[in-house]
Symmetry: C2
Subunit: 132 residues, 2 copies
DNA sequence: CTGATTTTGACAATCATTCTCAACTGCGCG
DNA sequence: CGCGCAGTTGAGAATGATTGTCAAAATCAG
């Protein structure tokens, strides 16, 4: 049976509050800084539960750590992520979906899964970078 | 100055010999099994040199480890990878390139980079899976 | 060959993530 | 309301990939 604990809620809320992708580690520090004595292992467990349950998305940053985000649209989608501030835009890409499926089929591959993510600098960070 | 050592050559050759993506770890064991007393650190160094020099591609597997492959075409391309046997097909995808660039621009993002890889089961492994 | 400089490799150090396990707690039942 | 127990927590250990350290060994130009 699945229980409701304040820890799970805290993680869910922290995820929603952060408006971009965050690593499990930084989510944990944020919670600790906010006064919760929540454990790191629990944050990881809560995050993977949320991911499994479809309430959150996860992806690997270019530096290799796993990032998480509360996902707004239930369906399948991809992301455009600012590699400086973490700001994220969800993008629909039917074109890419069908391309992936057909390129897989054309080469005899079955059960295609794909990883498609775009990283860049958002408008604000681009400006900041130009200014410096 | 860059020197030529048999270790670097061994890594380059092992990479070419393997016909799909391999992890640094398994490349290391392969070399050791083949009789080379090469060190793990050296394999990692050689691989990142090759990657920097454009002689190899690297990507993150779905399990989180870094995989490497000798790349045949010099240009920018993506991959279709069998998640069972590692067989890899290089795919050109101008459509995806331009899509990524334009979707980034449309949202005010600059300096777009993208990760686009397709995993699946190759024909042989699909058959094997069906048989089991 | 010689000397300077790069490279190597055993091992320690890091870092994210997962595991372990005893203590704890939400929740249904009486 | 109080019990009991299965799901949950959390501190710390364990894991596993990757990177750093540094003395010893190897490379290459002259």
């Amino acid at each position: 049976m699945k229980r409701n604990t304040w820890q799970r809620e805290a993680v869910r809320e922290a995820l929603v509050t952060a408006d971009g992708f965050v690593s499990a580690q930084s989510l944990h520090s944020t919670l600790r800084d906010g006064g919760s004595p929540i454990g790191l292992a629990t944050v990881y467990r809560a995050l993977s539960d949320l991911t499994d349950g479809g309430e959150a998305d996860s992806l690997q940053s270019m530096e290799g750590e796993a990032l998480y985000r509360a996902c707004t649209s239930g369906g399948h989608h991809h992301h455009l992520i600012c590699r400086n501030c973490g700001l994220t835009v969800e993008i629909e890409a039917d074109a890419v979906e069908t391309w992936a499926t057909s390129v897989a089929a054309a080469n005899g591959f079955t059960q295609p899964q794909h990883i498609v993510d775009v990283f860049g600098l958002c408008a604000a960070c681009s400006r900041a970078a130009a200014d410096q």
